[in-house]
């Protein structure tokens, strides 16, 4: 729609530039634009005259304490006349946002407009590109209305003050995507380090065995023990092994209700056979062998 409008405006401009014989065209003369800063002396500031029905080439700087004054004489054909619409149209070239300010028009076509930054919408204060200022002059009847660029308005700011920005209004639309950031998985140290420490831990067993042998550990009583009480010794050691085996199964696959009866059986066996086996050991001690 914006595009169509601008195309239309261009075509209107083109048509306005070539006044037809049938209808007079609106235009302006004696147009000046001036910017005066509050507190600065008379004669300071910028004052430029806009050539008739044409535009200024350099942008007009417009600060926060400045007053922009535009004055012109509206003309129908060659004679000054009061037009119904004498507007200064400000448009943001980026967003296409527009606002018009009506001139104070006298009967002879003399029109003037005073503007400060307070009169601008907040969105115009934070634009980066200069605003396009156009003059719209038109009225009832057959005369062709005038719509032409007048100057560019560069809105400047006091660098010490923050630029007022408009709050973004809420509109229904798609929202930014959100991807959940997962907590990092637990990390293990390098396998090599783990294996070194596993080797260290497992090396404790041979060290222990070696120490025992150095201190004189032996199994010299095994034949005697097996001879005097073979069944209790075999069953006792077997039941100890099976208790550890049951714990291994619990670690790998069994659950508590599977191991409890098994451990109960194995430990009963260990208790009974253990008391016999330890009786045999006591016998050896009483015999002075230990």
């Amino acid at each position: 729609m914006q595009l169509w409008h601008s195309v239309l405006q261009l075509s209107l401009l083109a048509s306005a530039a070539i006044p037809t014989a049938a209808a007079a065209a609106w235009g302006f003369t004696d147009a000046t634009v001036s910017v005066s800063t509050k507190g600065a002396g008379v004669g300071s500031g910028l004052k430029e005259s806009i050539p008739d029905n044409k535009a200024l080439s350099a942008p007009v700087a417009f600060g926060p304490a400045d007053t922009l004054k535009v004055s012109l004489t509206a003309q129908e054909g060659r004679s000054g006349k009061r037009a119904h619409q004498v507007f200064l149209l400000l448009q943001d070239p980026e967003t296409g946002l527009d606002i018009s300010y009506p001139f104070n028009v006298k009967d002879n076509g003399k029109s003037r407009l005073d503007l400060t930054q307070k009169d601008l919408p907040i969105r115009f204060l934070s634009v980066s590109e200069p605003l396009d200022a156009r003059l719209l002059i038109g009225s009832f009847g057959d005369s062709v209305a005038y719509d032409g660029a007048a100057f560019q308005l560069a809105v400047t700011h006091n660098p010490d003050e923050p630029v007022p920005t408009a709050e973004a209004s809420s509109r229904y639309g798609k929202l930014p995507e959100i991807h959940h950031i997962f907590k990092a998985d637990a990390q293990s140290p390098p396998v090599v380090i783990s294996l070194v420490f596993v080797a260290l831990v497992l090396a404790a067993l041979p060290v222990l065995g070696g120490l025992w042998l150095f201190l004189g550990a032996n199994v010299n009583h095994l034949p005697a023990a097996l001879k005097s009480a073979p069944v209790p010794h075999a069953v006792f050691l077997g039941s100890l092994l099976s208790i550890e085996g049951i714990f291994f199964l619990y670690y790998t696959s069994w659950n508590l209700f599977q191991i409890l009866p098994a451990v109960a059986v194995a430990s009963t066996v260990a208790f009974i056979s253990g008391s016999r086996a330890l009786g045999e050991v006591q016998g050896r001690r009483l015999a002075g062998l230990r």
Binding site: E177, H179, N218, H221, L289
Partner: protein, 457 residues
């Protein structure tokens, strides 16, 4: 027999009603003689299956409600001649009608002052008329030179395009619209409102009863003036404000117009625009319907029990799908998300943890299935799958399906031997066990090493 009859009647009703929400249309028209001015418009509506009921606002039996239920599905209000509408059309009644899912097309005219009751109704919807309520839009650049060469109050506008790059275009097309004597309005800052047709930048509003005194404060100019606007409530009932009732008259359906500058005389596209506008307002277009909603774990063989479980575990791969159809003119068709827009799924507990785009995955005869696959966040709690699709000109979709997200169960963690860092501790445990067994063996069968020395002592 009665069963057959009711089925037959139902089918008949379905065939007749083009709108997705009923076909009883109340037209509020004060002056019976004005009815003939709009005859093409009425016959267009009747051809599309509407039951037109004409009532004068002065009529005693006029009521929007019958036993507390709305008596009509749609309401079309033409500008009144007199100061206002009667008590049956008070702002409160019309707002109640909208709240009961009634759709309203309100036409204004710049010819007469808009009643203050209408103005206060519009204020409720955050639509603002000028304070004098009798302004007309003028544009010295886009007017019809044939009918308004002096007054410039017949606007010639191109058909509106897309509102935003991500919306559906329900009102576009070729041709020029002629809007005679349009009452402009401005829109408040709310997401429920959407302009359908804006004034050109060179337009301004003007009260013909008083001369525009020079330098007067102008509240809105240019494209801030809306000529046709739409409001869609949260319950998806629709309200359209048309600035120029005259544009729907027979005269302007068939008028020939000519813009200044361009030498060509063209016909207007008003009839087509009137059809688009009433079709949208009375819910023939832009109506979305949600069909099946499914979510399940991402796995190949799915049984019926696996669909829509009430509980998920953290880090589950999950698939969510939603079936959406769009009502278009007289049937449901597969809904296509407009370009640049996205249908989004939120997986949220208080605030969304995942907000993902749903992609079309399958299409049936009259619906599209949108789906996405994602990993459940590593946070347990009560989550919900939410699809909150609210867009200008489309009815709202707001779906919320709650599920529980639980932790890993104790037997779902990896076993300790799979963790290489745990090997040291496992080796330590088993070496203690081995050492214990060896110690028992040695203790049972070892002969004292110092036995001989003891004896000698």
């Amino acid at each position: 027999m009665r069963w057959c009859l009711s089925v037959f009647l139902f089918c008949l009703a379905v065939v007749n009603a083009l709108s997705s929400s009923g076909n009883r249309l109340l037209v509020v028209l004060e002056d019976g003689s004005e009815k003939d001015l709009y005859s093409t418009f009425w016959s267009d509506l009747e051809a599309r299956g509407y039951d037109l009921i004409f009532e004068s606002p002065k009529s005693d039996k006029l009521s929007l409600f019958d036993l507390g239920e709305k008596a009509y599905d749609h309401l079309l209000i033409l500008p009144p001649r007199s100061k206002g509408f009667g008590p049956a059309l008070s702002p409160k009644n019309i707002v109640d009608f909208i709240n009961q899912d009634g759709n309203v097309l309100l036409a204004l005219s710049g010819k007469s002052t808009t009643p203050s009751a209408i103005s206060s109704l519009l204020l409720e919807l955050d639509l603002h008329l000028s304070t004098d309520r009798s302004s007309v839009v003028l544009d010295h650049f886009n007017y019809d030179t044939l009918s308004a060469s002096e007054k410039h109050d017949v606007l010639l506008l191109q058909r509106p395009g897309q509102l935003r790059p991500d919306t559906k275009d329900f009102f576009g097309g070729e041709g020029v619209l002629a809007l005679p004597r349009t009452a402009p309005h401005t829109l408040g800052d709310t997401a429920l409102l959407a302009p359908i047709l804006r004034a050109p930048v060179t337009a301004y509003s003007y009260n013909p009863k008083e001369d525009l005194s020079a330098g007067e404060e102008v509240s809105a100019t240019g494209s801030q003036l809306a000529l046709v606007s739409a409001m869609q409530s949260r319950s998806s009932s629709r309200f359209t404000l048309l600035g120029s009732a005259e544009s729907f008259q027979d005269k302007w359906f068939s008028a020939t117009v000519k813009a200044p500058g361009s030498g060509k005389e063209t016909g207007t596209a008003n009839q087509e625009f009137a059809k688009q506008l009433t079709a949208w307002t009375f819910k023939e277009t832009g109506v979305l319907k949600v069909g099946k909603i499914e979510h399940h774990l991402a796995q190949d063989d799915l049984s019926l029990e696996d669909l829509n479980p009430t509980i998920y575990r953290i880090k589950n791969e999950t698939v969510f799908s939603i079936e959406i159809s769009e009502y278009s003119d007289d049937k449901y068709v597969p809904f296509e998300v407009p370009a640049n827009d996205a249908l989004q799924l939120e997986f949220s507990m208080l605030s969304p943890f995942q907000r993902l785009q749903l992609q079309p995955s399958a299409r049936t005869e009259n619906s599209t299935i949108y789906s996405t696959q994602f990993t459940v966040p590593d946070q347990h709690g009560i989550f919900s799958f939410r699809v909150n699709y609210k867009r200008p000109f489309l009815t709202n979709i707001e779906e919320k399906h709650e599920v529980t997200v639980r932790h890993f169960a104790h037997d779902e963690y990896p076993r300790s031997w799979k963790i290489s860092g745990g090997w040291v501790w496992i080796a330590g445990l088993w070496s203690v066990i081995g050492g214990f067994l060896a110690f028992v063996f040695v203790w049972l069968y070892s002969e004292p090493a110092s036995g001989k020395t003891k004896k000698t002592q």
